[in-house]
């Protein structure tokens, strides 16, 4: 895989405040990478640095073949990226078509290229019939879709999206998510800032959890497993000391008793559960149910963010 975004100890300070601290990560070509983090975690600052809108304090970063912080490369980086900021930032007294066309001209697209891409995106997003309506008259969802189209008119190699579904109603958010999934099918490299865990899980190939520092990075499944893997829950008719001792002899992890329910952390339930079931049965336990539960991305996220806050 080819790295399109590569950062090494990227840091940004505002006076005494460190907004982004030693960020090191790689985003592959064609990957959808999500940045999860609470408000003030440095997500927007990171995107602004990567889009050459603000400078870095220290560290290195490359976008494609270009070096962040190099004056000549800044313009080249801005040519290959598209940005959907957290506020849509449309010219409300211009029509949907004019908004797209203006940005097409800023990226030095020819008349025919602009005409083609404007129509393509407006049709794709279901806005073609509204192309001559002022964007100020659009709903939030329509504006957000238009803002995404605006960031794509020059066919960028990387699309940066800062909270693309924030402040949208569920239906509009769903439409935007579906559009992002369509872009994912086209193998577009996308870098998304979000604090919507469900959205990150559904859209992203990999997720980075940021809280000024990068706390963890991996696929949604890897992050879920990284916390405490999975749990086996054994529901018994009754629990006694003999049953508990039989499990302790197996050196199970994090044995917790809640009434007649025992919970144990497991890494490989297929191998560990039969041994536990045998041990419990041998100790006279009458098992009613055995279930395996997984930790969620939310568990992983909250654990990492809370640990960082301590």
């Amino acid at each position: 895989m080819l790295d399109l975004i590569e950062t090494e100890n990227l840091t940004r300070k505002f006076g005494d405040l460190t907004a982004v601290d030693n960020l090191t990560l790689r985003v592959d070509k064609g990957e959808v990478f999500g940045f999860l983090g609470p408000n003030g975690a440095g997500k927007t600052t990171t995107v602004r640095m990567l889009c050459c809108l603000i400078s870095k304090t220290s560290g290195k970063a490359k976008i494609g073949d270009y070096e962040l912080g190099n004056q000549d490369d800044s313009l080249k980086i801005r040519k290959i990226i598209g940005l959907v900021p957290d506020s849509v930032g449309l010219y409300e007294s211009l029509t949907a078509y004019e908004n797209l066309d203006y940005y097409g001209t800023l990226y030095r697209r020819t008349d025919s290229q602009r005409k083609e891409s404007n129509e393509y995106f407006l049709r794709l997003l279901g806005l073609w019939e509204k192309r001559d309506a002022l964007s100020g008259t659009f709903s939030k969802g329509m504006k957000q879709k238009l803002a995404i189209a605006r960031a794509l008119v020059h066919d960028p190699e990387i699309l940066f999206m800062d909270e693309p579904t924030a402040n949208l109603d569920p239906e509009a958010a769903k439409a935007v998510r579906e559009f992002i999934l369509d872009l994912k099918k086209e193998k577009k490299t996308i870098f998304i800032n979000t604090h919507n865990l469900d959205e990150a899980q559904r859209i992203c190939d990999r997720i980075g959890i940021l809280n000024t520092r990068l706390m963890a990075v991996g696929t949604p499944e890897e992050l879920e497993r990284s916390i405490h893997g999975r749990k086996t829950v054994i529901q018994l008719k009754h629990v006694n000391e003999a049953i508990l001792n039989s499990l302790k002899k197996l050196q199970v992890k994090n044995l917790v008793r809640e009434g007649n329910k025992l919970t144990v952390d497991v890494e490989n339930p297929g191998e560990e559960n039969p041994d536990m079931i045998n041990a419990v049965a041998s100790a006279g336990g009458r098992i009613e149910t055995v279930t395996v539960t997984s930790s969620s991305l939310e568990d992983a996220y909250l654990k990492l963010v809370r640990e960082n806050a301590k």
Binding site: F14, R48, C51, C52, L53, I54, S55, L75, K76, R78, K79, I81, G82, L83, V84, P85, S87, V88, G89, L90, Y91, E92, S93, L94, E98, Y102, Y103, T105, L106, Y107, R108, A147, R150, A151
Partner: protein, 243 residues
């Protein structure tokens, strides 16, 4: 820097301005109103014949259009830059491969064209009406156009407009609302008003030489401010400190 890119920005700005009724009415309406008002004043003054102070009066009136050229562009320039931030359109614009110079030049062109055209149209209407009234009052020749009016309208007014725009750009980088930027840039009319009163009182003569010297001073200030406006337009500060 390619020359056509600023024009692309200017064209968009002009389109937006043309749809902002309040800016349009102000920019087009004020010069027209002034030309009509001064035509009425002039017709009142020549009912009993052409006064000896005709040249002072008529050229002071033309100079008013120079003053207008300092007042009108500040509104558009301030809206054009601070308005981008207020309406949150600046971030995606700055993420495009446009340089600060191209953005500022494009916005300056858009802030320059409508006011200067309006000032010229207002002045031409006044000059035509004044010629008609003066001929009927027995002057015997067309008073306008003349060299003084030409220097004022074609040289001093554009330079004054540029001055106003440069100050608006600098103010826009320092304040966070359109009104604030507009008010600071609007102060640029003060030195021009001082010259107006000096002219009307006969302290400053609107001769070609005096007007050319004045234009030279304004041009020098314009050049100095153009460097300053580029230096003060700090995209990072605008993005991170403006809320």
């Amino acid at each position: 820097m390619t020359t056509w890119m600023p024009w692309k920005i200017a064209r968009k700005e002009l389109k937006v301005i043309s749809r902002k009724r309040s800016i349009l009415i102000y920019t087009v309406g004020l010069p027209l109103l002034i030309s009509i008002a001064f035509t009425i004043v002039l017709s009142g003054q020549i009912t009993n014949g052409i006064p000896n102070t005709l040249s002072i009066g008529a050229e002071s009136i033309i100079y008013v259009f120079v003053v207008l050229a300092t007042v009108l562009p500040s509104t558009i320039a301030a809206y054009s830059i601070v308005g981008e931030k207020v309406e949150k359109t600046l971030e995606p614009l700055l993420a495009t491969p446009m340089t600060d110079g191209e953005i500022l030049l494009g916005k300056s062109i858009a802030a320059f064209i409508p006011p200067i055209l309006s000032a010229w149209v207002g002045a031409v209407i006044f000059m035509a009406a004044a010629d008609y009234l003066l001929l009927n009052a027995g002057l015997g020749y067309y008073y306008f156009p003349n060299w003084n009016a030409g220097v004022m309208l074609l040289l001093l007014a554009p330079l004054a407009a540029v001055l106003s725009i440069e100050v608006a750009v600098i103010a826009s980088s320092r304040v966070t609302d359109v009104r604030g930027a507009n008010q600071i840039a609007g102060l640029m009319f003060i030195p021009f008003v001082v010259v107006f009163f000096a002219g009307a009182e006969g302290i400053f003569a609107f001769t070609i030489v005096n007007l050319l010297i004045f234009a030279g001073v304004v041009a020098a200030v314009d050049v100095a401010l153009s460097f300053l406006s580029r230096a003060t337009f700090n995209r990072e500060e605008i993005l991170t400190k403006w809320k």
